[in-house]
């Protein structure tokens, strides 16, 4: 793998890492498997692209994107809590609805972001070489996201959120409205996913309605790899591991795609197979390790 490819993979790991942090929040903290993300990632991209092309500041467009994602999460969580629709189904419904909504927002299946200001321009204006700007912007956003979420989960409200995923009966009897907490949590999660999508769009110079496909798979793969490799003893550790898991996941894919054994090499269409193999290895690795230790 060339240095250039490695930097690209780390960049991707960082920007999608923001999405992974959102997925960790629903999947692990709230125990709420949420497929909305496949729709809220392109939603963030679409909102940001439309805002920028309409002349809004690229940083402000990130705020709009995050708010849009938050709303999408709220819809899923309300369907689940207030209308008693199974969380998986509720999130699938929001996800497919978002497909149409995203096309409406962009007035078409995609928008190009060529010749407009993006969040990277502010960094390159400081004299940073263009090929490092992605690394810096994404790194800053990803690290701040981890810090913010870890701080939030240490607050009174955040502690109630942790407990809601752990023992809903108990927090209810301590006066917490678990519905409100779930709505807030799934909202925050999708806000982060949309933010990630907005940054991806600004980086690759386009928002596309299809860019969300496989988001949840990549998210879960990163979560599981992160937990296996870096552990999850404390909340801070777990979220850092999720972010690092995302980087490892992207590096592993870049490695696999660059692999050549004799005449064999992987195609980009083998990505799903590689992901499946990575997740399976991460899931069985602790098991194998235990067995080997016992011998």
């Amino acid at each position: 793998m060339t240095l250039y490819a490695a930097i690209g993979a780390v960049e991707q790991g960082l920007v999608y890492g923001i999405m992974v942090i959102g997925v960790y929040l629903t999947f692990r903290i709230l125990d709420f498997p949420d497929l909305t993300v496949d729709g809220s990632l392109p939603l963030g991209a679409a909102i940001s692209a439309v805002a920028i092309t309409s002349g809004y500041n690229p940083y402000l467009s990130l705020v709009f994107a995050a708010m849009g994602g938050f709303l999408a999460g709220v819809v899923t969580a309300v369907l689940n809590t207030k209308f008693k629709i199974l969380h998986l189904l509720a999130s699938i419904l929001t996800m497919i609805a978002l497909y149409s909504i995203n096309i409406r927002i962009m007035s078409g299946p995609n928008i190009a972001l060529l010749g407009v200001d993006t969040v990277f321009d502010a960094v390159t204006a400081l004299g940073v070489p263009a090929y490092y700007s992605g690394l810096i912007v994404f790194g800053l956003f990803a690290v701040c996201t981890v810090l913010l979420i870890v701080w939030f989960l240490s607050t009174e409200l955040g502690q109630a959120m942790l407990a809601t995923g752990d023992n809903p009966q108990m927090v209810t009897s301590l006066g917490v409205n678990t519905h409100t907490i779930i709505i807030l949590g799934v909202g925050i999660s999708n806000g982060l996913v949309a933010l990630s999508g907005a940054l991806v769009a600004q980086n690759q110079g386009a928002a596309d309605v299809g860019m969300g496909i496989g988001t949840i798979v990549a998210g879960l793969a990163s979560v599981i790899i992160g937990e296996t490799v870096f552990g999850s003893k404390s909340i801070a550790r777990a979220f850092t591991a999720a972010l690092l898991g995302s980087i490892v996941y992207r590096l592993a894919i870049a490695l696999a795609l660059g692999l050549e054994i004799g005449g064999f090499s992987f195609n980009p269409s083998d990505l799903n197979l590689i992901t499946a193999i990575l997740v399976i290895s991460a899931l069985i690795a602790p098991n194998l390790k235990n067995r080997l230790m016992q011998r």
Binding site: F152, S154, T155, E156, L157, G158, Q159, A160, L162, A163, D166, N167, Q169, M170, V171, T172, S173, L174, G175, V176, N177, T178
Partner: protein
């Protein structure tokens, strides 16, 4: 004061599985009452406590707390006034949170939760002194995860959490039934001490007649969704286990008669 006014509760109404779990319950729980609740399995004791706590609403009737109508209040809202300890020690605490985090959750019962620190330094001293009271050494283990504690330790912690903020009523549903006899006794003594210290109004469901007689100032007996016996003070103090067993069988007289007819 808590009142239940003609409360009725059916489960699966209109189906073959219909259960008439609460049949016209009228009950006034006076300030400072410590009521022990007895009755056979399925008599409706837990249903009564769940109904007071707001896990579900009665089909008819009215519930008030301090003259406030709470009949349609959801459980989380009533939690401001009502504390509970469940039979299952796992239900009352959060296993992946630490002891101090659990206590910090409890100290905000019924209050707004914002972006202040979850566990505050100034509360730690309070937690320590309360934990010390239990005599289990937990005050040295504030940062241990609750999942590491034994069932008895968890139930003791739950008792603390339920009474960290003084509730209008403390509801105990067979809260020592899942513990070994020695631990059960410790938790029972702890319950008595806390109730006495804080002058709590409380209800305790039990299947142990001795406990039903030995604790509290009032006793009610349930049978088929009705309160069939309600005594207090001197009259309660004079009760013997035999009296209760007698009452029990009298209430089931009908069924016994039916049984003997079937046998004959």
């Amino acid at each position: 004061m808590i009142t239940l006014d003609s409360c009725q509760k059916y489960f699966h109404k209109g189906s073959v599985n219909e259960v008439f779990a609460l049949n016209d319950i009228n009950l006034q729980i006076e300030e400072g009452d410590f009521i022990t609740v007895i009755g056979s399995n399925g008599a409706g004791k837990s249903t009564l406590l769940n109904c007071i706590a707001g896990c579900f609403f009665p089909d008819t009737g009215k519930i008030t707390v301090n003259n406030r109508d709470v009949t349609r209040w959801p459980e989380y809202k009533r939690a401001k006034y009502i504390s509970r300890v469940f039979q299952d020690p796992l239900l009352g605490t959060c296993p992946s949170a630490t002891i101090e985090q659990n206590l910090a959750l409890a100290i905000k019962r019924g209050k707004k939760r914002g972006l202040g620190r979850g566990v505050k330094a100034k509360d730690r001293e309070l937690f320590k002194s309360r934990l010390k009271h239990l005599g289990l050494g937990l005050e040295e283990r504030l940062l241990d995860k609750v999942g590491l504690l034994s069932g008895g330790q968890r139930q003791a912690l739950t008792m603390l959490m339920a009474t960290m903020i003084r509730p209008e009523v403390l509801l105990l549903d067979e809260h020592i039934a899942a513990l070994d006899p020695k631990t059960a006794n410790q938790i029972l003594m702890l319950t008595r001490d806390i109730v006495k210290e804080q002058g709590l109004t409380s209800m305790m469901i039990t299947h142990n007649m001795k406990h039903a007689i030995g604790f509290g100032n009032r006793l009610i007996m349930f049978h088929q969704g009705r309160i069939i016996f309600d005594v207090r003070d001197q009259e309660k103090a004079a009760l013997t286990v035999e009296d209760l067993v007698q009452k029990f069988y009298k209430s089931q007289g009908e069924e016994l008669a039916m049984d003997s007819m079937l046998l004959a």
